[in-house]
Amino acid sequence: MGDFSGKVAIVTGSAVGLGRQYAISLAREGCDVVLCDIRSEVTQVADEVRRLGVRAEAHIADVSVAADVKRVVDSALANFGHIDIMVSNAGIWRGGGAKDSVDKSLEDYEALIGTNMKGIFMFGRAVIPHMIAQGGGDIINIATDHVHTHPGRPTAGGSGMDLYDVAKWGVLALTLTWAKALKDNNIRVNSFSMGATDSFMLRGFHNHAAPPEEVAKWMSPEKVCGLAIEMIKEGPTGRTGENIGVWVGFEIELKPIPAAKPAPVHA
């Protein structure tokens, strides 16, 4: 078995794309996996995970619904006894901007903030008390490169993704604050801000008809998830409160853990 033998992970949005890859990558390390998704295919991914020799259970659940979040976490605890790794990956995408109507904006707000921010908030808050009680854990929140851009690109997903960005900036703040709150509890909280990754969301963005030469530019989910595994392996002295940028055209790697925080620049 791998390094994560005996550990239990929850991965949200794990029926497809990046979430599915997180589940598989963790399972390959020997980690038991609790999967959830609004899509019923999540049960097939759980079968796939089991074939890797670990335990798995699948839930059809909506991360924006409090009762669903509670059900997944309670079930994980009842069946596996503990939760060591929380990967809040589930997310949706919608366009929108300053000139939208209030009606459309409120609908987008409920969907985007509900899934992309409240979902991450609820899963974090649901697992944190257990991680504190058991003496440690890892929380990974998936953000976007809109909040941590690659060199040469301004923040935000342009002018037309404001509420998506609202949710993801919120996720970054949750990551930073939780890292600070839990630094003495052996719980590390980090987020990943990825650029174009071959995920279900990005394929959906291209109406599942992206030309192969476009797809070829995207980062492989396996590599991105590998980076998260590498980070979890840093263990109790590992980094926390970082928002890790992973970008197309750049090395997919973890920077060294900084010895001290650098002085600010307010030019």
Partner: protein, 308 residues
């Protein structure tokens, strides 16, 4: 003629503290002001401003009420002819430790996000058509220096994940709206203040507040208050911001430092401040593909502003 004569400004959360200071300063600059708050004191503020001869529309309502927001914007436009400035000031602070009970966590999320984020979105969406019609405008989101800390000691106290999230979330509204409205002569910025002498901050030092051990029933002791910034100074800075014409910036305002706009930030500097808040050493982003922000647009200026 005063700088903002004939212009109309909406200020949310204007019963006290910063919102009241914004309303007073905007009115003093000649603007008609439409103000609202959940507290009835907003009506007193309105009466005071009317007594000074200013055009005022004052309403008491909960900022999470969409219908009341719509009525405020529509009535302000009807009464004064336009909406030129929106100051999204109303906000809620609450301690939300990560070990809170589940039910409290859920309530806190909804209540804080509804006031600090959703209402900002709704108000901003409502004023944009009026600003487009008027040929320009300014939106100012009131944030916090937790988003733009002077020292890189991470975000603020560990028990405020939701307050932090709500204020960081405003980056999304400031950033995208500034880009979307740049060609329409509408600017969107955020003021990111450190401790300012407001009711929100004073309450922390009163019984039941998390800093109550440092204060009395009357609030914080004078030596602590002496370290707070004056809301009137922040309001003055906001006028400077309108005159300057920059957009898409988080303006840092820190206690103990000059309360000034500072030079315009090139977008690569902005990006570093916002995006590279990672604990990693600052990277060299190289030269930006385009240079400084466009020249200021004196859309609101009747005369030339005094040299800042």
């Amino acid at each position: 003629m005063a700088y903002l004569s004939g212009k109309t400004a909406i200020v949310t959360g204007a019963a006290q503290g910063l919102g009241k200071a914004f309303a007073e300063r905007l009115a003093a600059e000649g603007a008609n002001v439409a103000i609202c708050d959940i507290l009835s004191d907003v009506l007193t503020v309105g009466v005071e401003l009317v007594a000074k001869g200013h055009g005022v529309l004052a309403r008491q309502f909960d900022i999470t009420s969409r219908a009341d927001c719509e009525a405020l914007v529509a009535d302000a436009a009807a009464k004064f002819g336009s909406v030129d400035i929106l100051v999204n000031n109303a906000a809620l602070w609450r301690s939300t430790p990560v070990t809170d009970p589940w039910e409290k966590a859920l309530t806190d999320f909804d209540e804080m996000m509804d006031i600090n984020v959703k209402a900002v979105m709704v108000m901003s969406r409502l004023v944009v058509p009026h600003m487009l019609r008027a040929g320009g405008g300014d939106i100012v989101n009131i944030s916090t220096d937790y988003v733009l800390p002077l020292r890189r000691d991470g975000v603020n106290a560990a028990d405020t994940d939701l307050y932090n999230a709500s204020k960081w979330a405003l980056n999304g509204l400031t950033d995208a709206a500034a880009q979307a409205l740049a060609e329409d002569n509408v600017r969107v910025n955020a003021l990111c203040m450190g401790p300012t002498d407001t009711a929100m901050l004073r309450a922390l030092f009163m019984p039941g507040g998390k800093l109550a051990h440092l204060g009395t029933a009357e609030g914080p002791p004078p030596e602590v208050v002496a370290g707070f910034m004056d809301p009137a100074d922040i309001a003055r800075l906001m006028i400077d911001l309108f005159k300057d014409g920059r957009t898409g910036e988080n303006i840092g305002v820190w206690a103990g430092f000059p309360i000034e706009l500072g030079p315009r930030k090139r977008w690569d500097v902005r990006m570093r401040e916002r995006a590279d808040f990672t604990g990693q050493p600052l990277r060299n982003f190289g030269l930006p593909p385009w240079t400084d922000a466009p020249e200021p647009v004196w859309h609101l200026a009747v005369g030339q502003p005094s040299e800042a």
